[in-house]
Amino acid sequence: MGAQSISAILVSRLLQGILVVFLVVSIVFLVSRLARNPVEYLTTDETTAEEKELLKEQLGLSGPIGIQYVNFLIDAVQLDLGNSFISARPALSEVGSRASKTLQLGAAALIFSMVLGIPLGIIAALRRATPTDWLARLLAVLGQATPNFWLGLMLIFFFSVQLDLMPTGGSGGIEHLVLPTITLGLLSSAISMRLTRSGMIDVMNTDFVRTARAKGLRESTIIWRHALRHALLPVATILGIQVGYLIAGTIIVEQVFAWPGIGRLMLHTITVGDFPVLIAAILVISTSIVAANILVDLSYPIIDPRIRAGAR
């Protein structure tokens, strides 16, 4: 037990993670090869058959699909995902700059959701069954029910078109980040708020909080030093899922706000059929989701010392 079991868990989680990423990328590779023949839309009617063959050869599209797949895997292991069909630059470098934009937006949204959701949840729990609680819960339910693409358009309508306070889209300064962050983070903040609230209510009824009260500790000490840590466990537990939500959400939000991130890139590559870039993007995304989940799993023992002793 102890340190050895943690490293054993880490290794097995890493292996499983690699398997998952491998499966995802394989599915996307196979589906995209079934989708359309890139040679058809990269050429005109005047292109001769010979030129088409040559192009096929260059793009790695000749031969049976099984061979193509094996070749792709051999290259992929060396982090060579081929070149973009359109720009001819390496696919991974096409994705890189876009991924950092998405990371920016995703991180901002995650922080926003925590900063809004957790305090609101605590306040609601401490003032349970008061108008404050009621209002906070109403906000959370609204946040969960509002479709993010509609919310984004509404924000653009009011803050950009009517009030002219914010840019309608694109990226640049911090002001470009405000509306997309709210749009992307609202659902997560509603979820965090509800989890914090119910966690806090549960923990305030436990024996150790009662003991702390009986000892005569101040209420603020009880809340901040004893209760909060427990109340936030469920919030931490679903952090991995939240990252998945945020990444899925970013595809829509980037589209609404013309944010030049990886989601918009993927939509674009699918419409133009630039499959190497698409696969590179999917590789980056699935790896980050898997990594986030592993990190969350590994952080449990730090957040909750009760797990440290036991095996998971």
Binding site: V31, V141, T146, P147, F149
Partner: protein, 299 residues
């Protein structure tokens, strides 16, 4: 005591429903039920109720405002869109699209997910590990992206939307059912049933399943707004229903370009989505609190 009598399912359900509805809940539930009723009637009788063909283009009547605004008329209570189509008729037919997605996707994914979850929880080992990797995979591949690929390969249609949603929502049920089976399989009444020689199938369907039904019903209710939102999002991104189909998401996508000169083409379907999704969430929460308070943290 017979083994049958030991299964506490029927009892739990009855006890669940006996908990009264507080007046606060009622205050929220009444409007929710009304909205649900309107949604169902609009969706089912869309053809009878709507005055216009939702896909009929009349350019001369385009972007007419709703009735309460200057220039609006009762002929088009919610106004018309950029192609002169009646928005009220389109919102009602949009309800039908949402309803269709709900009544096909949710039973199908609940059924598939439950069966696989039962199997994985019961036969721990190989099956179980396979299932959990599948679940991980779905977490790592955003449904939207997969939908995008499908729409490129097979084209845009309501059927494809339904298939995509089923592919991506069965795993939630499977995970939940599996967790419940894992804890139930060690309980006395299951052990007793096994000891008395009951077959696996009998144990699972007569003894284990009745104890999980509540969980599945709650999950399915909470899935209603989720599924409606996914369809709307797909159609908004132009990878959902076929072009022209009056889906709420597609209406918002079309209205988007005229947002600055006409607010109603995106407000009306947006409000429809919001109301229905709000209703689904409220009903789901209420069911969960009534049937199974343990599940508060599921979502």
């Amino acid at each position: 005591m017979s083994i049958e009598a030991a299964a506490p399912a029927a009892d739990t359900i009855r006890r669940g429903f006996r908990i009264g509805v507080s007046w606060q809940r009622l205050l929220l539930l009444t409007p929710a039920l009304i909205i649900l009723g309107v949604f169902l009637i609009a969706g089912i009788f869309a053809d009878l109720l709507s005055a216009y063909d939702p896909e009929e283009i009349v350019l001369i009547r385009r972007l007419m405002p709703p009735v309460l605004q200057e220039g609006g008329s009762w002929a088009h209570p919610l106004g018309t869109d950029n192609l002169g189509r009646d928005i009220l008729s389109r919102v009602m037919h949009g309800a039908r699209v949402s309803l269709l997605v709900v009544v096909t996707c949710i039973p199908a994914s609940a059924l598939i997910g439950t069966l696989i979850g039962l199997l994985a929880g019961w036969r721990v080992g190989w099956w179980d590990r396979l299932l959990m990797r599948l679940v991980d995979m779905q977490l790592a591949l955003p449904a939207l992206l997969f939908a995008l690929l499908i729409s490129v390969v097979f084209g845009r249609s309501l059927l494809n939307v339904i298939v995509i949603i089923i592919i991506f929502s069965w795993s939630g049920y499977a995970r939940l059912v599996r967790a419940d089976v894992l804890s139930l399989r060690e309980q006395e009444f299951v052990v007793a049933a096994r000891a008395s020689g009951a077959s696996d199938r009998r144990i699972l369907f007569r003894h284990v399943l009745p104890n999980i039904v509540n969980t599945i019903v709650i999950m399915a209710t909470l899935d209603v707004p989720a599924v409606i939102l996914i369809e709307a999002a797909l159609s908004f991104l132009n990878i959902g229903v076929a072009p022209g189909t009056p889906s709420w998401g597609a209406m918002i996508s079309e209205g988007r370009n005229f947002m600055t000169i006409a607010w109603w083409p995106i407000w009306m379907p947006g409000i429809a989505i919001l109301l229905v999704s709000l209703t689904g969430n409220l009903m789901g929460d209420w069911l969960r609190d009534t049937l199974d308070p343990r599940l508060r943290n599921v979502r």
